[in-house]
């Protein structure tokens, strides 16, 4: 397994610090289960911190989109924080920057979820 998810709570917002790669297989399962567990526990304001995510493939992008859709369905918000240049470019090429709200500043991201 090449991804780790650490969850911390700041001002009522759940921040998921992801480290590693989000690629086909177990890595996307880790992301899926993490987001599912947060929703099941009624944590509907979530920031995914991708600062230490080195690589995302199309399956990983699909899992991010799934997460976004699931949070929206339950009246929640899933936003992204600290994209690396490669991940930013990937979201730009696929037009997913028009779907996700993306932040570079954690405090501003938290404020947007209040």
């Amino acid at each position: 397994m090449t991804i780790l998810a650490n969850i911390r709570k700041v001002e009522g917002v759940q921040i998921v610090d992801l480290t590693g790669r989000i690629t086909i297989g177990e890595e996307t399962s880790v992301l899926r289960e993490t987001l599912k567990t947060l929703l099941q526990n009624n944590h509907t304001r979530v920031l995914l911190n991708l600062a230490d995510v080195t690589y995302i493939d199309s399956s990983g992008l699909g899992e991010l989109v799934n997460g976004f859709t699931n949070f929206n369905r339950q009246g929640g918000k899933l936003k992204l924080l600290n994209l690396t240049k490669k991940v930013h470019d990937l979201l730009s090429i696929t037009k997913l920057l028009t779907v996700f709200e993306v932040f570079e500043d954690e405090a501003k991201a938290i404020q947007s979820l209040q």
Partner: protein, 141 residues
Amino acid sequence: METKESTILLRIQSNLDYTELVESLTIDLTTLAGCTSDQAYFIEMSIREIVSNAIQHGNKCDRGKFVEIEYRFDREKFQVQIEDEGNGFDFNHLPDPCNSENLLKSSGRGIFLVRSFMDDFSLDYIPNQGTRVRFSKKLGG
């Protein structure tokens, strides 16, 4: 000056665990070819996408079927050909993942990304025989 072309052929069983093995070899070969880190990233990602597609959607994870990856490269160009033994794949009917009605779909971006990253891309399919994908990246050597 005449450039020497290298050719490497890898044949793997349809098992997604082997995508890591393919990636390790790809990293070594892009280094050998003198790719920049960006070129290597685009090539690695493209191979990962097509090999995953070949295993999952082409060969349907049937471990009795194989995927062949052929690498050909010199200092000017890195070429890849990937073939599966599946039922064929109709490239002409792929939806555009960037259309607004498809943006929230969880799949369908792999081939789009490879086409974006590579300089050439072609896909041939023969019903009931398999799919052959070819792509290349200029290295500007």
